[in-house]
């Protein structure tokens, strides 16, 4: 009886292993030559779709940017650079004109021209597409001038329309292919003009691509590109240490420390443009935060440099307001608040809170270390902070439903590399996350958002930063570095936006 059941169990084991074996990915049969031209990149989440106009998040874009091109791109100096559009200029107040490259084809041979651009942008703006991409909502129409010239008409002026075409909104999709095969087929078998062609996708596991040999900038040195999703951070580091992946992205300073002793792995740290700050609700007249002196006191009370050195292990840089130094509009002559707890106590006294006050503070539980440091420092000046940590999505939902605490810790990536994006949702009084009103600031926001003259815009930004620093509707913190673990022998240059463009990488 026992022997029989043992045999039966062994048979079962073999069956299960056999079933797994059917899914062989060929990882074991790779020759060394293939290994040299295969690059495996891992991040913590997978893309949710392969249709680039139905996603609006960085992890998704990181994968899709390798299959699709945008009209315009950014170079290593964070400047706009030609991609599918060779050049662009303002025609009048509400029109931008783009001259397109003439030698571009999609992976299936379909030609790229002005009609393609018109189709792409109109598809993005069509409510039926249900696109989460929002930055082109001011585009009213797309006009084909000739086969390689296209004009975008906006409602009012948009000084940073070209910047908005460097990622999500600027992705170009194939007109004929989608019209012939339908939306669903396109999402299963995407076709772009990018350096890599789609091969296969196992959701939440791996996207496989291969080099597109007719790419307009020349074929990539990497012939097979794989993006793996490894949600658990410790496992991500383990996969890198075991040599299963070439590049691990989005690692934290803690993990970075683990990897530093390893001779086969290089840890790369690239200054990033994601800025962090604490939003303060100034609108309730009963709240201490209603008083400017209190808000300034909070800024004097937080030792940001200490936070950067301790919690962030030096992988961040102090910022004066919400703008990272890479973005247009940043004014380096305006210096950040110094750490000065005495001055903070004086200001609290002036405001009528000599003994401090109690307040609640919301944050994403991933940021708990940073929050603990801030809480401890505010306690020193008598401000008792009760921190509520929650998962990131609950946190975002609460902010958007206006159910968040008077203080919350927030990060924002202005990927257009223009300060307009950093201020967009936070500063003007009619915007969604605004919790502070100032008439003069509203006028200045209108100037920087509508003027096409960059000098005028810079002046507006400078004045805005001065006022925002003085009025302190936020506790200003830092911009954090993007950290990568890279296998020895892999060449790849990260960028400040943190986008994982793998064209140009080699092994």
């Amino acid at each position: 009886m026992l022997k029989k059941s043992f045999l039966f169990i062994i048979l079962m084991v073999l069956t299960i292993l056999g079933a797994c074996g059917l899914e062989e990915t060929g990882q074991t049969t790779e020759t060394s030559k293939e290994k040299d031209t295969t690059l495996i990149v891992a991040q913590q989440s997978d893309t949710s779709t392969l249709d680039p106009q139905k996603q609006g998040k960085m992890p998704d874009m990181n994968i899709l940017i390798n299959m699709f091109d945008t009209l315009i791109t950014t170079d290593s100096d964070q400047q706009l650079a030609p991609s599918l559009a060779e050049s662009w200029e303002v025609v009048d107040e509400d029109t931008w004109e783009f001259k397109l490259r003439e030698d571009v084809i999609f992976h299936n041979g379909e030609k790229f021209n002005a009609e393609t651009v018109k189709f792409s942008i109109e598809r993005l703006l069509d409510p039926a597409t249900q696109s989460p991409i929002v930055e082109l909502s001011n585009v009213e129409s797309v006009e084909v001038i000739d086969e390689y010239i296209v004009q975008l008409h906006t409602a009012g002026s948009d000084p940073i329309l070209p910047n908005k075409l460097t990622l999500f909104g600027g992705v170009i999709v194939p007109k004929e292919y989608i019209e012939e095969n339908g939306e669903e087929h396109f999402a299963e078998q995407p076709i772009g003009t990018g350096p890599f062609k789609f091969v296969s996708w196992k959701r939440d596991n791996e996207v496989v691509m291969e080099s597109f040999e007719d790419y307009w900038q020349g074929a990539s040195a990497i012939k097979t590109l794989k993006f793996r999703a490894i949600p658990d951070e410790a496992n991500l580091a383990a996969a890198l240490r075991a040599g299963e992946i070439d590049i691990a992205t989005g690692i934290t300073p803690d993990i970075m420390k683990q990897l530093e002793g390893n001779t086969e792995i290089n840890v790369k740290s690239e200054q990033g443009i994601r800025t962090f700050f604490i939003s303060l609700d100034t609108k309730d007249p009963e709240s201490p935060l209603h008083k400017k002196e209190v808000r300034q006191a909070l800024n004097y009370a937080v030792d940001v440099d200490l936070m950067i050195d301790s919690v962030l292990d030096g992988q961040a840089k102090r910022v004066t307001t919400l703008i990272p130094e890479e973005n247009f509009g940043y004014d380096e002559s305006i210096t950040p608040y110094e750490y000065n707890p005495e001055k903070a106590r004086e200001l609290l006294n002036e405001a009528g809170y000599p003994d401090g006050f109690d307040i609640t503070f919301d944050a994403n539980n991933l940021d708990s270390n940073n929050v603990q440091v801030i809480t401890a420092q505010l306690k020193k000046i008598g401000v008792n902070v009760e921190a509520n940590l929650m998962d990131g999505q609950t946190f975002i939902s609460n902010i958007r439903a206006e159910k968040a605490s008077p203080m919350y810790y927030q990060g924002n990536t202005g990927w257009t590399l223009d300060a307009m994006s950093n201020f967009q949702s936070y500063i003007k009084s009619d915007r969604r996350y605004n919790r502070w009103e100032d008439d003069k600031v509203d006028k200045l926001i209108d100037i920087e958002e509508q003027s096409l003259d960059s000098k005028v815009r810079q002046e507006a930004f400078t004045e805005l930063q001065e006022i925002i620093k003085e009025e302190a509707p936020f506790i200003f913190l830092y911009q954090i570095n993007n950290l990568y673990g890279i296998q020895e022998g892999v060449n790849w240059q990260p960028n400040s936006i943190g986008i994982l463009r793998m064209y140009g990488a080699s092994k």
Binding site: K54, A242, E244
Partner: protein, 305 residues
């Protein structure tokens, strides 16, 4: 017997209806998918537009009735995050989870049954103490920690097994071990006590007195009778395996239903959360029914009227 099964199936429909209702309302209490789908610079109008096109602007009761109506047609709706039918996504993932759960169960039984027999037969001896203390230890440590430890030893230090993901047969070994440890410990302890009890019973003494070999006594007489509680617990543990797979799949980047559930809760992907919970509950109810039917086969004295 047949009327019993039919009655149980009807009862299952009620259970699933209850589950569907609870998950519908609880999911909606925890947040809003639209706010997560759109980037921070979306305007209020854009948010409202998307909400309307997803049908999330209707009164809750109306949404609930639509949901129930579709459920009767076995239509779980479209996933918000993936823009694909929820059922299709789950069926795509099911094989991976069943494979992992099956492998974990086989791994645990292959070790637990011999270990249970040894500890029952060698009561009070040194070998029993060693096995039992190991088992207690295994039952006490959490799955994710076992997982990380296994990765540290087998993937990083020895470099013989992959850290995670799917591929060849090697990929299932570590997650199956991590997921199976708890069940292994449970079955070992259960079998030890129920087999111990059987070995002390009159019929075993009689068998021994007749001069049967100890092997025969344990194998043929005692073990059969002591398997009943083990079968029960295995049935109940299917739920625990499904629950445990959520953690294991995340740790090992194993793309099964568990990981899909975590992602869908994270993104407040209501249709997908609802579909997964209802289907998992359905599986659980069904497994329990099968266990009850197995009873009759194992123990002829049990009858359902």
């Amino acid at each position: 017997m047949l009327t019993y099964i039919i009655r149980r199936l009807l009862y299952a429909v009620f259970v699933l209806f209850g589950v569907a209702t609870v998950v519908f309302f609880i999911a909606r209490m925890t947040g809003d998918p639209v706010s997560i789908m759109l980037p921070p610079d979306a305007t209020i109008e854009q948010e409202q537009g998307l909400r309307a096109s997803l049908g999330l602007d209707l009164p809750l009761i109306q949404q609930y009735l639509i949901f129930l109506g579709n459920l009767l047609k076995l239509d779980f709706g479209m996933s918000l995050r993936y823009d694909l039918p929820a059922l299709k996504l789950i069926l795509e993932r099911m094989p991976a989870t069943i494979q992992l759960g099956g492998a974990a169960m086989i791994f645990s039984l292959v070790i637990a049954i011999p270990a249970g027999i040894i500890t029952a037969v060698k009561k009070g001896k040194f070998s029993e103490k060693v096995v039992m203390s190991t088992v207690i230890l295994l039952q006490s440590i959490p799955v994710f920690w076992v997982g990380l430890l296994l990765v540290l030893v087998f993937s990083i230090t020895l470099k013989i097994l992959p850290t995670g993901g799917v591929g060849g047969p090697l990929f299932i070994i570590l997650p199956a071990i991590a997921l199976g440890t708890h069940l292994l410990a449970l079955v070992t302890r259960l079998l030890r006590s129920s087999l111990g009890e059987a070995l002390d019973s009159d019929y075993v003494r009689t068998a021994k007195a007749k001069g049967l070999l100890p092997k025969m006594v344990v194998g043929k007489h005692a073990l059969r009778n002591s398997l009943l509680p083990v079968v029960t617990i295995i049935g109940l543990e299917v739920g625990a395996l499904l629950g445990g797979s959520v953690v294991t799949e995340t740790v090992f980047a194993w793309p099964g239903v568990g990981q899909l559930l975590i992602q869908s809760i994270y993104n407040r992907d209501f249709p997908l959360v609802q579909a997964i919970i209802i289907i998992l509950a359905g599986i659980f109810v069904l497994v329990n029914l099968i266990v009850d039917i197995l009873y009759v086969i194992i123990d002829p004295r049990i009858k359902y009227n």
